[in-house]
């Protein structure tokens, strides 16, 4: 295995249907019109020396190394900024050019440290390469002139170092920050000889607006911006392409290694989800994989009050199987169940649901999508016929109007947010529907046309009002509706939304959204060209989550915005494999490919393949399992890669459910909060330690490749297989590819998927079958999967969670860029330097009324519970609304959230909780007790 080297074409590819033919160094080449000479030469395999050019950013023409000669033209133009022309005859290597290039290099080197042998970039430095390429043999100017060799280093960022002495001021980092990331945190300060790269206004990287995405480090041609890890341990020697295990964007990375040691993760340019970009989590926050708190040996205990006892794998598996058999013998077959993980691979989630359905013999299997995107599955299947988003991420490049609802992409899906911002800078329009003023509303060179700052819990009223405007103002795409949708349902729906009570003037009092603003937003979406809707958990995690998803689908259909690039309905999935976990049959009512367990033909297919009889009625969902546990019926749970105690609502109820069980098995990297209530701990493996696939938010199936042996001894799929065998249901897979082969045999939408094809194509978007052998980037092109698109009436029903004198504020929750979900991974990295604790955002008016100052401890109380955290006073939230994240177990924001849930799917209503805030003086009593209990629960018995 060797280090994967990617070709740098020096300038971005150009899309043009027109082509141009020219001659470079005597060889003819045909390229799209508008292509730069540098790129055209590289297409031929000819490398023109360069320093300031790279294909991730637009050409700049500053380094003067890439000069060429063109017949019939005077001078030596820069090839990076010169577009090709028909019949052009170009020379890239002439004595004149060689002399000029050497002269330029002499100037660069005269102000550069000559420490190549001890430089971190030795062997990976374009300046070094160019010195060789131009034949530099001397520097006539000497090294004693004015220089920058003593410029100070900025090591404030934990992940990379800025060494100004090595900077050649090529501006690649500045342009990457602007064009790729869209943060505009870097600039060139000073003029002429004094020019230097500067984060913000002469700040350090850590205190500037830099978001540590790594784009600048990636773009730097020298050792000026270098990963601290490379400085510490040296250059990698081999690499493999794999998929990030954080959010649902699914960025492809090269895992660059030294033996089994990970040196760095470098975004892979050919990755179709991320197109060579990354964020602070995927690029840098992987240190948790080797964190000292990782547990690598199995442990058991008789009671959750006992210390853990380390045991062998054989003993742990035998004990677990024995306990589940005992429980089922005593309480019945349905008294146990399992939870699959959206952090694990498709193959692993498939295997857990298979274990539940075969070895346990019931359908009591669920997944964390229950608490995030289950309404997406229900809503989009009902309206369109497929439980998934309609587009690929590339589609954003052709959109004219984006609607972002209940999502905060710059924090939760940052790499895709950068692509959104790029399109917005090109002129696309933006409507944000969110109670908070998220960064997309106004940030560097991005300004939303409309921000509908609705009251939490009123999504359906707002979206139905938008539909009212579109229908009553004659903005519907009637031709599209006539051809593509169920007309009877449409007529019924159009009549419904046209009722006066659904007009924005009537709903304004409920939603808080000014009617004129809503009307303008609806008109823009309906008439602004290609309209796309991107949404997140601010849509789904409500008592009307499924209704909101269907309201979104209605809007897309009535405006004809489904079935081509640039449009669509796009759920932004939270975790790396939420889509995949849902696809793989993790829900208790359906098999893989979203086929209901009551469907005789499907059930028979699985019965024949698995050799067991299968029930025709659904099993328990996660909240139902916990309810049944409290009621005394549900006694055993196998949880792979989830932390339901911290992530699920109403923590006290979750704790009561877990405490009522007799065998809770947690399979994870760390002793998470759920493990405090566990009787068996099976150590898990990281994404670096196993093979498999993840499926991202755009239905893209991508390979996860093993780059080191599992520190715990086994990949997670192997652990599930051992447990199944011990329970008496034989499994004998040798490799995850065999599991995928089984999935493909049993799942029509995956029929054409295999590891071999994934390796050949890089990635595949399902459906992948005989009709679409290489996958389906955009769905519903000629017709909806269900046939005709189905309009659904979306009556607004206020949540049961009401504000009142005791609880006058509404709490809503979300994520922050540097942390990820329950924080089990990111809290164990340097990312905590950006976000060490959850804080409560509160509007200045509400803070003043309560005598709360910025940074004060405050008590946050709801009908479910009470916690304490520090306040951050900000007008990012509206008066009457408070906001916090849920990344830290000390805070446990879900002590506050309630049992209210989506009517169709039981997805919890995280986004609306009535609360009161008052001044506090430190952690609440409950937090102190919980911390002590958690510490006690994590005791491990000393080895004999």
């Amino acid at each position: 295995m060797s280090l994967i080297q990617e070709t740098d074409f020096g300038a971005p590819a150009v899309r043009s249907e027109k082509t141009v033919t020219l001659t470079i160094d005597g060889v003819q080449v045909t390229v799209p019109e508008g292509t730069s000479l540098m790129r055209a030469a590289k297409e031929l395999g000819t490398t023109i020396p360069k320093l300031c050019a790279t294909d991730s950013v637009a050409a700049f023409g500053s380094c003067r190394l890439c000069l060429v000669e063109i017949e019939g033209r005077a001078g030596t133009p820069a090839s990076c900024t010169t577009p090709v022309a028909e019949g052009m005859v170009v020379s890239t290597q002439t004595p004149k050019l060689a002399k000029l290039r050497r002269g330029v290099m002499e100037l660069y080197i005269s102000d550069h440290p000559l420490d190549c042998l001890t430089c971190a970039a030795n062997g990976d430095c374009e300046l070094q390469d160019m010195a060789g390429a131009v034949g530099l043999r001397e520097v006539r100017y000497g090294y004693d002139g004015a220089n920058h060799l003593t410029a100070a280093k900025d090591a404030s960022n934990p992940y990379f170092t800025y060494d100004a002495s090595k900077c050649i001021v090529c501006s690649r980092c500045v342009r990457a920050c602007e064009e790729v990331q869209g943060t505009f945190a870097l600039t060139i300060a000073g003029r002429g000889f004094g020019s230097r790269v500067s984060p913000g206004q002469s700040e350090s990287f850590m205190t500037s607006e830099c978001v540590s995405c790594g784009a600048c480090v990636q773009a730097c041609p020298t050792a000026t911006l270098t990963e601290t890890r490379v400085i510490e341990i040296g250059q990698p020697e081999h690499s493999a392409v794999t998929t990030c295990a954080y959010c649902g964007v699914g960025c492809a990375f090269k895992a660059e290694m030294r033996g089994e040691e990970l040196v760095r993760m470098v975004p892979w340019k050919a990755g179709k989800a991320n197109r060579g970009h990354s964020c602070v989590k995927g690029r840098f926050a992987w240190g948790y994989a080797t964190h000292r708190e990782r547990v690598t040996e199995p442990m058991i205990r008789a009671s959750i009050h006992d210390p853990w006892k380390v045991v062998s794998w054989d003993e742990a598996i035998a004990h677990t199987a024995s306990e589940f058999k005992r429980i089922q013998g005593q309480y019945g077959r349905d008294s146990v169940g399992g939870i699959t993980s959206s952090r694990c691979t498709n193959e692993e989630t498939y295997l857990v649901q298979k274990l539940v359905r075969t070895a346990f013999g019931n359908h009591n299997v669920d997944t964390c999508a229950r608490v995030c995107h289950s309404p997406t599955g229900y809503g989009l299947k009902t309206t369109f016929g497929a439980s998934a988003g309609t587009q690929d991420f590339d589609s954003v490049e052709e959109t004219d109007v984006m609607v972002v609802i209940g999502a905060n992409p710059t924090d939760a899906h940052p790499v895709f947010a950068s692509r959104m911002k790029k399109r917005l800078r090109q002129g696309a329009r933006l409507i944000v529907i969110d109670p908070r003023r998220i960064d997309l509303v106004r940030s560097a060179r991005v300004q939303a046309d409309h921000h509908l700052a609705l009251r939490p819990g009123t999504n359906v009223a707002v979206l139905t009002a938008m539909a009212h405007v579109i229908v009553t103002e004659g903005l519907a795409d009637e031709a599209y509706v006539r051809e593509r949708c169920d007309l009877q349902a449409y007529a019924h729906w159009a009549e419904f939304v046209s009722l006066p009570q659904h007009g924005p003037e009537a709903t304004e009092a409920v939603t808080g959204v000014p009617a004129a603003e809503l009307r303008a937003a609806a008109r823009l979406y309906a008439t602004g060209g290609n309209g796309s809707i991107y949404y997140g958990l601010g849509v789904t995690e409500h008592s009307q989550g499924s209704t909101t998803v269907m309201a979104i689908a209605n809007l897309a259909m009535v405006t004809g915005n489904i079935g081509r690039p640039g449009v669509g309905v796009n759920p932004l999935r939270g975790q790396n494999n939420v889509q995949g976990a849902c696809d793989m049959g993790s829900f208790p009512h359906e098999f893989s490919g979203y086929r209901h367990v009551s469907d005789d033909e499907t059930r028979q297919l699985f019965e024949e393949a698995w050799g067991v009889a299968l029930g025709d009625e659904p099993g328990l969902r996660i909240p139902n399992m916990l309810d049944e546990a409290v009621a005394g019926h549900f006694k055993g749970l196998y949880v792979q890669g989830e932390d339901i105690l911290q992530s699920d609502p109403n923590t006290r109820h979750v704790a009561a459910g877990l405490a009522a069980m007799e065998c809770v098995v947690v399979q994870d990297l760390f002793l998470n909060e759920t493990a405090n209530y566990a009787h068996v701990f099976l150590p898990g493996s990281t994404f670096l330690e196993k093979d498999g696939t993840f499926t991202n938010a755009e239905r893209r199936i991508q390979r996860v490749r093993k780059v080191m042996r599992p520190r715990n001894g086994y990949a997670d799929w192997e652990v599930t297989q051992m447990l199944s065998n011990a329970l008496g249901y034989p499994m004998a897979y040798d490799h995850p590819s065999q599991i995928m082969d089984e999935i493909a045999r049993l799942t029509p939408s995956f029929a054409g998927v295999s590891f071999e094809k994934l390796d050949a194509l890089g990635s595949i978007q399902w459906p992948c079958n005989a009709a679409a052998p290489e996958g389906t980037p955009v769905m519903h092109i000629d017709h909806f999967v269900r046939g005709k698109g189905q309009f659904i009436l979306t009556e607004y029903v206020p949540t049961e969670e009401k504000v009142g004198p005791r609880y006058p504020l509404l709490l809503t929750t979300g994520r922050i860029l540097s942390q990820y979900n329950v924080g089990a991974q990111t809290r164990r990295t340097e990312n905590s330097r950006w976000h060490a604790e959850d804080v409560l955002e509160i509007h200045p008016h509400d803070a003043e009324e309560r005598g709360v100052r910025d940074g004060d401890w405050v008590r946050l109380k709801s009908r479910s519970g009470e916690t304490a955290l520090r306040a951050e006073i900000t007008d990012r939230v509206a008066p009457g609304v408070v906001y916090t994240t849920f990344h830290h177990p000390l805070t446990q924001a879900n002590v506050i959230t309630t049992d209210h849930s989506d009517w169709a799917t039981n997805c919890p209503e995280y986004k609306v909780t009535a609360v009161q805030v008052s001044r506090g003086n430190g952690p609440a009593e409950w937090q102190v007790e919980y911390t002590a209990q958690a510490r006690k629960s994590r005791r491990i018995e000393a080895a004999e």
Binding site: T547, E617, E628, L793, N906
Partner: protein, 76 residues
Amino acid sequence: MTDADEAHATGVTPMANQIAGFFVSQGDHAAAVAGTADHIKAFWAPVMRRELLALVDAGQAEGLSDVAREAILRLR
């Protein structure tokens, strides 16, 4: 704990009412009952249906909407 007590503990009554609330908004009474029954059959584990039926049988289904009541009785 009686079956009815357990039904209270698992909150099946408000869940059924929420489902019925949605289907009532979609059409007439008969369609709402059918929609509610179909949804409960498709997504609820049998034990949850039994718990709600136990409540109805015990005369303790206060607050259960007419549509939800008819729907669950249809699934007996």
